[in-house]
């Protein structure tokens, strides 16, 4: 027995996938052409699985800002902000994100994953409790673990279950952090935030919302679900990422609590890693300006989302319940999902294949993420590629008959 033996089942699973021709979890983008197009296997492909919600990865302002910073500030910071000092641009980015949220305190992290690790582990430690939604992103689970608090899971989007668990905590609810997401990344559903806020107030708990997939997508100014719901003042902290609608990399936390500022001195994922590189910081700042100046991008995103949602519904697909930029078609089993995913790729459409254990309720999903940069023609192509999939299903049933099996709900 060696350390490496535990990889055997993974190797077997991978070999099984490889038998089918491509490995959906290790695919190469040979050339990226635009926010919505790339070359895979020598073929021009429409991207509808990249979380590039506002389609800003090639925005000229963001590219120019990045190029200038690269030339003026160099390729990297070569260390942490605590040891090497903050570049002025780090502080300017923090100011920009704080202003965007109208919040006094903001801290930038090197990735969104680290933002969750950094904020959650600093806020809740031994003796504290964290209540997390059962469908939480891995970075939330990992952040909770890093802090050493007691972790309790509540049923996905179930406020009754949440409240029950707060009640069970008794007085400990005052030292409890509730963690939810604005839009859940797999099925695109939203947290029932107004009710969650009520419950958290009733029990004196603290609430943090991860707006990774809702920043730039929800709310009048694109600040996310808390803005859309009108409860920003009642949310204690927001975390988010620059890697989706802002098209760069990095993460952040904002808060109205002055103590938030002190996380810098205690948060290991902030202290013990190199600070974001200058070009990334500059591009991110430029893109924040772009989304502030162009609310019509968000409208376009929603128009495109409705278009795709309606098209796939008409073709008979069973989708996540809420219309939005994350549109996930539920497929009855893994083999079928893989075959359909491959056929889509061969027809020039890239979506995300999502299978358990990464998915809620053991679902198999063909997950689309819509972009404001998709043209109407591209959306129509995506719809017709999905509609054409009927011949992939071995029994040659039409997608209209593709029903998730009974255990799914």
């Amino acid at each position: 027995m060696s350390l490496f033996d535990k990889f055997l089942p993974i190797q077997e699973a991978r070999n099984e996938l490889l038998k089918s021709g491509v490995n959906p979890f290790h695919i190469t983008v040979e050339k990226i052409i635009s926010p919505t197009e790339a070359i895979f296997n020598g073929r021009k492909t429409i991207l509808v699985g990249t979380n590039n919600y506002l389609g800003l990865t090639f925005h000229p302002d963001s590219i120019l800002a990045g190029q200038q910073a690269l030339a003026q500030e160099g390729t990297g910071t070569t260390g942490s902000r605590m040891a090497n000092g903050s570049f002025a641009s780090h502080k300017e980015l923090e100011k920009a994100i704080a202003d965007f949220y109208g919040a006094p305190y903001a801290i930038v992290f090197s990735t969104g994953y680290q933002a969750n690790l950094g904020v959650l582990s600093a806020l809740a430690g031994p003796g504290d409790t964290i209540l997390i939604d059962g469908d939480s992103h891995a970075s939330i689970y990992d952040g909770c673990r890093l802090g050493g608090a007691e972790i309790i899971r509540f049923k996905h989007n179930d406020v009754t279950d949440l409240e029950k668990r707060l009640r069970r905590l008794g007085d400990r609810s005052y030292r409890t952090l509730i963690v939810v997401e604005g839009i859940y990344s797999m099925l695109g559903d939203r947290a029932p935030l107004a009710e969650i806020v009520e419950v958290k107030k009733r029990h004196g708990a603290t609430l943090i919302v991860d707006e990774a997939h809702s920043l730039g997508v929800l709310g009048q100014h694109g600040r996310g679900l808390a803005e859309e719901t009108g409860v920003e003042q009642d949310v204690d902290c927001i975390v988010g990422t620059f890697s989706k609608s802002l098209g760069s990399t990095g993460g952040f936390g904002i808060s109205f609590h002055p103590e938030f500022e002190l996380i810098r001195y205690t948060s290991r994922p902030y202290i013990f890693t190199a600070s974001p590189c200058p070009s990334v910081v500059a591009s991110t700042r430029a893109t924040i300006r772009v989304i502030q100046a162009h609310p019509e991008l968000r409208q376009q995103l929603w128009t495109n989302s409705r278009h795709l949602y309606e098209g796939l519904t008409k073709s008979g697909y069973i989708l996540g319940a809420e219309v939005g930029p994350i549109i996930a078609a539920m497929i009855p089993n893994k083999e079928l999902a893989l075959a359909m995913w491959q056929q889509l790729l061969e027809n020039g459409i890239y979506v995300n294949l999502m299978i358990p254990p990464a998915t809620p309720n053991g679902e198999c999903l063909l997950r689309c993420s819509v972009s404001a940069a998709h043209t109407q023609k591209q959306i129509e192509k995506i719809i017709s590629a999905f509609a054409d999939l009927s011949h992939v299903t071995q029994t040659s049933i039409s997608p209209a008959h593709v029903q998730p099996d009974a255990t799914l709900n």
Binding site: T129, I151, I152, R168, L169, P356, P357, G362
Partner: protein
């Protein structure tokens, strides 16, 4: 306050629907290995148990729970508060 010996029969009853026909639950029964529960079913079992005993089992404690006995002892501990 419920003792372990009072918890055990209730725990058997709660787990029963998740076992195959004719399976005899014992204190030493391994929850995942012997009952063949996948991660989804584990979550369903936990929810049922948590509601039945009106407790929340922290995720931190799950790695230490392998058998029915472990689970019973955990419930006893949580009920003591």
């Amino acid at each position: 306050m419920m003792s372990y010996s009072e918890i055990l029969p209730q725990l058997f009853d709660t787990l029963k629907p998740f076992t195959k026909q004719g399976f005899r639950l014992k204190e030493q029964t391994e929850l995942v290995a012997e009952l063949g529960l996948d991660s989804l079913q584990v979550m369903q079992v936990l929810l049922k148990i948590e509601d039945h005993f009106d407790i929340s089992i922290p995720l931190n404690n799950l790695p230490n729970i392998r058998t029915v006995k472990d689970l019973g002892e955990e419930i006893e501990k949580l009920l003591k508060g």
